[in-house]
Symmetry: C2
Subunit: 283 residues, 2 copies
């Protein structure tokens, strides 16, 4: 389905949208972009990241697209598609980059025109900086690309979404149903951010930075967090995240209880277990 | 107090003891070592890290030392000093590398001969690997060196301990009283390890490693943990650590409560706060 002359349209030219534009253009593919910020569009044009750009939902650009990648916050994306879906040519494939999938996929597939197809994608990559000027397609090289098909998706669309992951040179490309995706992401991404933020905000001592070792820096790096995007992602997946917080808190309180009763053997067992399990995650 | 001809004795030639030996020898200082493992001693001799070595508490080596650095687990160190302190020359300075200070300093200063002096030191450096073969003095370059004097310490001993930190090229050298040290370390080091371990052991899903991003790897790197050493450190500082676990858990449960009531503004405020606070910790 994706060929040499496939025309891509990226809606939302921030860090991830910009990195998609760079990566696909380097592959020789035709990439257009829409972003409300004129500076982002002119920068991308100057850099040769895109062929054409617009700051409004330009009907000509939209009608020419074969594949549209939405790199917007979930709520903005849903509204955009609802409002502008009449502008797409029949057969256009829509996909996204959102970090949560159940709500997004369910809502969009629910209202989308019958002659269009939406398939969820999640590039598990990012940086602690934002915007097209920080975009960099090399962030995908060590990252996972997750495609989240439902029964409404065709084999052709699934193959096309996977092909985008290949073109962008992702380390691993996998398929998960949206619910399994959100469960997993609630643990490996959202719970870790919840922990980092809480660790950062639970102690107001102003002098701590003078004594901080690498371990504290490692655990709190992701406490620098885009509050608009992550609030939206947390709230869209709140039931899963609350369950993950409960499971983690329960385990930390088990350690607390071991400390209270000074049970060295139980503490050592917990450390041996964590060491063995962590070894599985080395890359 | 520390001069070009000062003779160092390192007791315990593991990762930290070995890194001390490398760093001090490179500075042209005389370094001897005692370790029960003959392989560690012969390796260090081959590498030119030490001048002389012994696998037992050799009275000649011990009597010649001007400064003795104990790089042993806290309990082993306390027993060693109690049993062998009669072998030191009057005026010998003893110091250590233990990660908790109140108990260690209090006990040792309590029973030590009047003509010897013990001053606590904590090099906040490490690796996830162990033993003299992994020793590397460059781990000190970005690390903090903390000296923990009490009213029993002399200005000369404090200056000597600080000088060791300088000779080993630590990034920052500071003084803290033992209680303040343990409070701080309970937060920046022990709580972070408790969190990493609990995060690693609270979920038994075997497939998670296929979907893991950098944030999860960052948060769990220190979940590979030496169970003997860390159990000892946790238990020696358990009251502080329990209080830190409570303060962190309280903050994480505040976030949980915000998620339950879907309070986007409160969530954004927490993220803005954590982002602002984390910026202080960049190095």
């Amino acid at each position: 389905m994706i060929k040499e002359d496939t025309r891509f349209l990226i809606v939302g030219l921030g860090l991830i949208g910009g990195s998609y534009a760079r990566g696909l253009s380097k592959r020789g593919l035709s990439v257009d972009a829409i972003d409300t910020n004129p500076d982002s569009i002119s920068y991308a044009l100057e850099q040769g990241m895109i062929r054409r750009g617009a700051t409004r939902p330009d009907p000509a650009l939209i009608a020419e697209a074969d594949v549209v990648v939405f790199a917007l916050y979930p709520g903005v994306m849903i509204d955009w598609i609802r409002e502008h879906q009449h502008l797409f040519r029949p057969g256009t494939l829509l996909t996204d980059v959102a970090g949560v999938k159940c709500h997004v996929v369910d809502v969009i597939q629910g209202f989308l025109r019958e002659d269009l197809e939406f398939i969820g994608s999640h590039p598990m990559a990012g940086k602690e900086v934002y915007g097209v000027r920080n975009s960099d397609e090399s962030i995908f090289k060590i990252a996972n690309f997750i495609v989240t098909p439902t029964e409404k998706n065709t084999p052709g669309a699934i193959a096309a979404a996977r092909r985008i992951g290949e073109l962008l040179d992702f380390h691993t490309i996998v398929e998960l149903d949206p619910a399994t995706h959100d469960e997993m992401i609630g643990f490996v991404s959202q719970l870790t951010h919840a922990i980092a933020v809480s660790l950062m905000t639970c102690n107001e001592d102003e002098g701590l930075q003078n004594y901080t070792g690498d371990s504290f820096r490692d655990l709190t790096r992701i406490a620098r967090i885009n509050e608009k995007m992550w609030s939206e992602l947390f709230l869209l997946n709140r039931e899963v995240l609350i369950a993950q917080i409960d499971s983690f808190t329960c385990e930390l309180l088990r350690m607390r209880e071991i400390l209270c009763r000074q049970d060295r053997a139980a503490l050592e067992e917990m450390f041996i277990h964590s060491t063995r399990r962590r070894a599985l995650f080395d890359r």
